[in-house]
Every structure is written in C-alpha cells, then in structure tokens.
C-alpha cells in the first residue's frame, strides 16, 4: 500500500500543477479601476501590436496624472496573447473574470477579434477594437474605433477615379477576410461605377509573402493596356516591405502606376527606404503629418514617453486615443464602470480627434471619421493630398454586399440590435 500511495503522491504532484490553478486568484479589493490591454507582444503580430500597448500605457499614465477616473486611479493589466488566436480568448477570459478589468483595449487581426467576441458577450464586458477592418459585424460589447470599409477603401477609390483618372484596377491583397471583403465591396462599387470586368484584376497572396517578382511583373503587364492603372493594396503587414522593395527595383513609379494601400502606415514605412516610393498612396483617418494642435501635443508626448525622437505615430494609435477618451467620458457620465451603463453612455459621446475635428460614437458602435489620402514622402511620412470635406459615418454593414445591404445596427433602446433587417423589419439577419 505504501508503494501505491507513493505512486499516487508522485502522479498527484504532476497533475496538481494543472488542478492547482483551478483554485485561482481571489479578487482584490477594488480601489483602482483596472484596464485590460490585450495586444500580442510576441509572435507574428508583435510587430504591429506592441506599439498599441505602449500607447495605452501612456494614456493611462496621463489620465492618472490628471486625477484618474471617478476619483480612482487606473491600473493597466497587460497580458501577452502571443499572436495565438485561441490564446486571445483565454487571455480575454482571464482579464475579465480573474483580473476583473472594467474594459479591455486590444486585438488587431480580425481573427483575434472573432476569437474573443463570444467571451466578451458571455461575460458582458467591453472591448475597444482600434484597427480598420472589414465591417460586417456589430456587437453590443465591442466598440469599433478603426475604420469600416466605407471610411477608407471606398473614398480612396473615388479619389483615384476622380483625381488620377484611373480606369483599370489591380486589387491585390493577402488572402484573409479583410482583403477578401474589401475587394468584394470594391469590385461591386467599381462595377456600379461602370468599370468593366476585364479592367479589374484580383490577386491574393499568402501571409508573409516575400517573393513578389511574378506578381509585380504581372501588374506591369496588366497596366500596359493603354489605360491609366492603379493598384489597390490590402496586403498585410510583413509582406509589404518586400512588395514595395520589388516595386522600387522594377522601376514602377507612382506617376505611372500608383499603389494605394489600406494597411501601410508610418510604422510599416519605418522599415523601408521610402525614396523610391515617393508618391504612392495610403488612405487612413489619421496621419502623423496632420496639422493640428491636438496632434502636435500627442506626437510630442509620445516621443517623450518612448524616449525616442524618431518614434512615429499611426492610425490605430489615434483610434486608441479616441477610444480611451470616449471610455473615460462615458464612465464619468455613467458614474460607474458597469458595462451596460457605460455602453449606453458611450453612444453619442464626442471627443476631439487628432486631425482637428471631432469623433462621435454612433449607435452602431462605429465612429465618425474624416478620410485622408496621403502620398508617401522620402522621410517616411505622408503628405495629405486629399481629405473628405466632413466626417464619414462608419457603416457596420456594407451596402455593396448582397448579404448585408438590408442590415443596419442600432444599439440604442428600444431597438438594441446589431443586425436589424430593414426589409423584413426583424432583428437577426434575414429573419425567419
């Protein structure tokens, strides 16, 4: 029997490690308000997301210096979901149910948002999602502070059509949901504007694609049909540097074939020598080169916070700035950090954005944003060459997709529905 019990203790020691955490952490006394930060600090997405973690830490520090929220100090809880999508869901649950955070700022890729979405809905907590995305979603628990396709892609194409007289289009993207959806929308949009089928070329590449020789050559070939051609690029993160290097080396100049990108900002250009890329375009709702007092103050604070005078700012950072300011205001307005109260208070809140205007949270949990088109300069910044006269309201459900053209989202009472079908008058997609 002693053998048995000793074997038992040994195996127990091993399994207890797993079971041990079952009786996890007890809740702390809440004299601070906790803010969760759910951005990958390692793995493939660390390249983009680490910066957003730093921005959040800076904003929280600033808010604490200004007296915190509701008289309490804010406390940042940082975790690393490591670019691993199931781990995002696990970490979200950890933040909400173990750390008891009042709100989470985080995620970058669509898949990470999709992964955490059920967790936020189940545990009824709030997520601020700061990246431009494909739309086709509106959750009660998520505030989308990045651009929907109609706040980025469609105006950019309009610009090229009108100002650069582009008639032939290459839609090049990484093969995942954001480019697929954006290109579907753009294709429908271009056809509605009278562009012929054969004047649209669509190309998809895998993540991290690094050998662009063939594709750049085929773009050149496509462009030699006597019509002004432009490339609309939804190429993601890592693949952009080799893509632009190949463009530069094959001598494609912006004057001949302009490339307008939706995922290339100041951070991505920081890894490139931009001299050969001058004139290529990007469409965002914010550029570091925007001229406004708010932006000057933010950029200065950011450089001081990171102790790096060359540190750049970009669009998703602005989205977090706006989102954070809104959350602070909503909490002050609601007088509590309770999810439902804050979510109700969020709608209609306006805060100054960094480009000199105001951002308002709409009932569909999307923002009003100006659309800016910038041309790449040799110093890695963008020169703003065009902007919308006012702000554009983010559209959760695209009008150009057959599945979603009848859907609207309105989280105000009494409708409180993320996918209301105006044709059938019912909440819940196509009804039935």
């Amino acid at each position: 029997m002693s053998h048995f019990s000793s074997a038992l203790t040994r195996t127990a020691a091993a399994l207890a490690v797993g079971a041990g955490l079952a009786w996890g952490t007890a809740a702390h006394a809440a004299d601070t308000i906790k803010v969760g930060i759910l951005h990958s600090l390692s793995g493939t997405m660390a390249i983009s997301e680490t910066t957003l973690k730093d921005v959040m830490l800076m904003l929280i520090e600033q808010q604490n210096e200004a007296g915190g929220v509701l008289g309490k100090q804010l406390e940042a809880v940082v975790v690393d979901p490591a670019s691993d999508w199931p781990l995002f869901a696990e970490k979200a649950r950890e933040l909400i149910s173990n750390d008891k955070v009042a709100v989470v700022f985080g995620c970058w890729t669509s898949v990470s948002r999709k992964s955490v979405l059920p967790v936020f809905e189940e545990l009824n907590s709030l997520l601020f999602y700061p990246v431009q995305y494909e739309g086709e979603e509106s959750s009660k628990n998520v505030f989308y502070t990045g651009a929907a396709p109609n706040q980025q892609a469609v105006p950019a194409v309009d610009y090229l059509m009108k100002e650069a007289e582009v008639e032939r289009w290459v839609l090049a993207g990484t093969d995942y949901v954001y480019p697929r959806t954006t290109n579907k929308i753009l294709e429908a949009y271009l056809k509605a504007k009278g562009v012929a089928e054969e004047d649209i070329m669509i190309n998809y590449t895998p993540f991290g694609h690094s050998d662009w020789q063939t594709i750049v050559a085929s773009i050149k070939e496509f462009a030699s049909a006597g019509k002004k051609t432009a490339v609309v690029s939804t190429i993601n993160g890592d693949a952009n540097v080799p893509f632009y290097k190949e463009l530069a080396n094959q001598g494609i100049k912006a004057e001949d074939i302009p490339v307008v990108a939706f995922s290339v900002g100041e951070e991505e250009l920081a890894g490139l020598d931009t001299a050969p890329l001058v004139g290529h375009l990007a469409a965002w709702n914010y550029f570091q080169s925007v001229e406004s007092d708010e932006n000057d103050a933010f950029v200065e604070a950011w450089k001081a916070y990171t102790k790096n005078p060359d540190r750049v700012s970009n669009d998703p950072m602005e989205a977090h700035v706006i989102g954070f300011k809104m959350w602070v205001q909503a909490v002050e307005k609601a007088g509590t950090t309770d999810t439902d109260a804050v979510a109700d208070a969020m709608i209609g809140i306006s805060v100054p954005n960094l480009s000199g205007g105001t951002a308002t949270m709409m009932p569909n949990h999307h923002l009003t944003k100006p659309v800016l088109i910038g041309e790449v300069q040799d110093d890695g910044q963008f020169e703003i060459v065009w902007e919308t006269p006012g702000t554009v309201v983010g559209d959760a459900w695209s009008d150009y997709l057959p599945g979603s053209k009848d859907l609207i989202s309105d989280w105000r009472k009494p409708m409180s529905c993320g996918n209301f079908n105006v044709a059938t008058g019912k909440c819940g997609g196509q009804g039935e």
């Binding site: 590449t205 050998d211 030699s224 049909a225 290097k245 094959q250 004057e255 890894g271 004139g279 041309e375």
Partner: protein, 542 residues
Amino acid sequence: MTSTGISRLFPAVLAVIILALASVAPVAAAEADLAPLVQEFSNRKYDPKVEAIEKLGASGDMRAVAILKALGNRDLYTMKSGDRVVLARETADGMAISDPVTGEDLGTVPEKALQKIRLNNRMRRTISAAIGTLTLMSPDAAIRGDAAESIFLSRDDDDLEVLDAALAKETDPDVKLLMEQARAAIVLENGSPDEDLIAAIAVVKSRGDRDALSVLTGLANGEGPVAEAAKEAVTGIENRLELWGAAQNVFYGLSLGSVLLLAAIGLAITFGVMGVINMAHGEMIMIGAYVTFMVQELIRTSAPWLFDYSLFIALPLAFLIAGLIGMAIEHGVIRFLYGRPLETLLATWGISLILQQAVRTIFGPTNREVGTPDWMSGFFKLGELTLTYNRVYILFFSFAVLALLMLVMRYTAFGLQMRAVTQNRPMAGSMGIRTGWVDKLTFGLGSGIAGIAGVALSQIDNVSPNLGQSYIIDSFMVVVFGGVGNLWGTLVGAMTLGVANKFLEPYAGAVLAKIFVLVFIILFIQKRPRGLFALKGRAVEQ
C-alpha cells in the same frame, strides 16, 4: 494662398528680380518671364501649379530644367513670411536659400521659416514630361534619348512641334528612332488620317515592348484597316513578349532558388553535415540581417560616404558575430547532445525563442530599415528581360558562397578534419583530431554562413524578429529534398524548388503554387527516401 495674395505679392517679387537682374547682368528679356511662373508654386492648390509647370516646359528656356528638377527633388520651398518661392539647401547652420531663377544667394534661414512645396503624382508626371520637352535639344545624346522616351510616355500633342524641330536636326540614329517612335505615339493618340496611323503603327511596333503595347492596345479594339493593323501589331508584340516571358520566369525561379539556397546552405552544414536539427538556424539569418542594420546605422551617423560599401563591411562582421554566437551555442548546449539529434531539436527550439525575444527586447518589435546601396537599386534590361540588380547580385552571391564553402570543405585542412569527424568520430579522434574543437568550428561555420545569408536577405525582406521564422521551414525542405549531407543536393534542390514554384505561380497563384511544391516534395521523398543526392553506405544507417 489666394490669387489676390499672389497679385499683391507679385510686384514685390518682380521688383526683387528686376533689382537682381540689374545688379548682376542684363541678360535676355525672356528671363523675367520665368519668375512669375515659379511664384505660382507657392499656391496651395495643385491645378495652378500643374499649369505653371506646363508653361515652364513650353517656355523653351533651358533654365527651367534646373528649376523643374529642383521642384521634383523637393528642394523648392516657400518662405513662411511673404510666400516667396526659394531654392533651399541644408547646411550646418540652417537652410541656405537662393532664388531659383537667378541663383542669387539670399542668405541662411532656420528650417522653421520655410515650407516645402507640396507635390502630387500629377505634378510629378507633368514635371517629367516638361523636362522631356525642354531637353529635346540638349547637346547630350543620352539626354535627348531620355527626353524622347518621356514624350513617348506622355504622348502630349503640344510636343509635336518641338519634336518635329528636333527630328529635323537629329543626327544620332538611335535617338532619331526614339524620336520617331515618340512622334508616332503622339500621332496615334491624337487621331490623323488612316494612312498616317498605319505608318505610325509600324513605327511603334518596331519597339516591340510593353510600352508599345499600351499605345497599340487601345486602337486594336475598333474596326477597319487601322484596327486591323493595330491588331496584327499587338499579336506580333505579344508573341515576342511571350518568349521573353518564359525566360523571365526562369530568372524569377533562379532568383527565388538563390534565396532558398542562401537560407539553406548554413543549415546544410549544421543539419546536413553535423546532424543537428538546428531550429535556431533562422535566428542566425536574423542576426546577420541585424548586423547589417547596425553597420548601416553606424555609417549613417558617422561616415555617410561609406554607405555604398556598407554591405561589404557587414558581410565579415555578420559571419563573425553569427559564427561566434553559433560556437557559443555549440559550447553551451549542442556538444552535450551529439548522438541525440532529436533532442537538439528541442534545445535549439528553445534557443531560437530566446534569440527572437532578445532581438525584440534590444531592437524593438518593429521592422528596422536596411537601405539598399545605389549599385544594388533599380534594374537593367536584357532584351525584354527585366533584371533587378539586387536579385542578380544575390544570385551570384549565393553561388559564390556555395563555391567557397565547397573549396573549404575539399581543399583545407579544416575541411578534411570536418569530413573526417562527421564520417567517423572515434577514428578521427584516435588520429589526433580534436573532435570537440572541429565540431565547434563546424557549427560556427554553418552559423556564420547563415549570418551572411542574413546580410543578403536584408536587401529583399523585412528586418524584424520574425525574419528567421519565415525561412526555417523552407530551408529544411531544401536540405531534405536535396539529400542531407550533400551540398550539390542543396544547390540543385534550391534551384529546382525555386523554378518549379515560379512556373506554377502564374497558373495556380502564389498560394497553390507553394502547396503544390510541398506536395511534390512529399511525393518525391516517397520515390527517393533519402533525397535527390543520397549518401550511400553504412553511414546512412543511423
């Protein structure tokens, strides 16, 4: 700036220019005409700026060339007080400004007093067309040729007159041909009697390249003799280009192969020869790339004139640093694991995580900029082949590295010892070879080669902590496909996979092409379970 602003300013500017002219020398009266055009650049809207560029181009005044070039290079600024357009150059104590038309020195002002003149793509296009028009009469034949090319691309019928005048005077046959082609393109673009068009089609067809195609394709869509002629010309050019296209694909394939080869050679040593499943191989490549970054960073801050040589400085450094790190890894971990290859997988995986995170901590998670020296930028044409310099250099570089490695293995004492130790360790030891030391050097060699591969790959890929991860799987595929322990196999394997991938890509797309190549490897290994060039004999049975 509004137009009333301009008109208010205009007299003042004129006065300055007249004063300047009076003080320097009374030249031609036409000179005074440029100044108001240049002053138009202070406008914030693009339309008047574009108009001013066109007028400068039409002026026929050679001084406009320098002004337009300065504008294109973004050396033109407006003074924040007074909106005067000036040419500015950076100096130690601020911006040295001068008048763009007269060249008069206007002193030095702080950078904050100036505002760069904004450009957009339309302006850039107009500038190069205007410079083309202006330089058609240049004494230099090469410049005239470029000018004719830019007119060919812009096809602006305002240029027809200038072009005809230039053609009449042209003596150089090559340039003359280019001018005729440009003229034909203008004719085709702007409509003429049919016989002129058909003649023009023949002239443009003689170019036989993509630019010719883009002129002709539009015409080929209609009916009638012109469209027929255009159609025929288009098919002719397309057939010709198709052949070149195949050759181009071979080049792309070899180029991709050379990247695979570079990434895999180091692994062919550490994995192929030593049998270490070296998961940290990719991180050695990454270290090489970061060494390049550091070298360039040092050069940028302390010796900018060295920039074109930065890669040559980085190569030995990358070899040494990656090699030393490799030797340290061998000394600290790998040497305890010989004969247990699968455990090296575990340990090197751990090391690769540590190295990645170390780089992330030191250099930050974002991409770092590694510049391309001038001699590696751009492309040249070989017939209709577009060969980019960086790819061509990398292709030759990969061969050179492989050749050098083979020489070292075959003809040096170290190479001999290395082969002896890997073939029969106890025997080599009893012959007096310090096997431990040879192992260390071999692992260092493999890591060092990965380091220099990193220098080359920094020219075409991201320099980020993830760099190594994107090459590790491909490298293993290449080594295994070629046959473990055989450098020729690595060469043939890399090139085969590269060319196969590039020939599949146009039909299947980039993703499917890669999948097909992987499936091909799986099937090939069934046929030849030890790769393309299998080692024979008992050594295999391990």
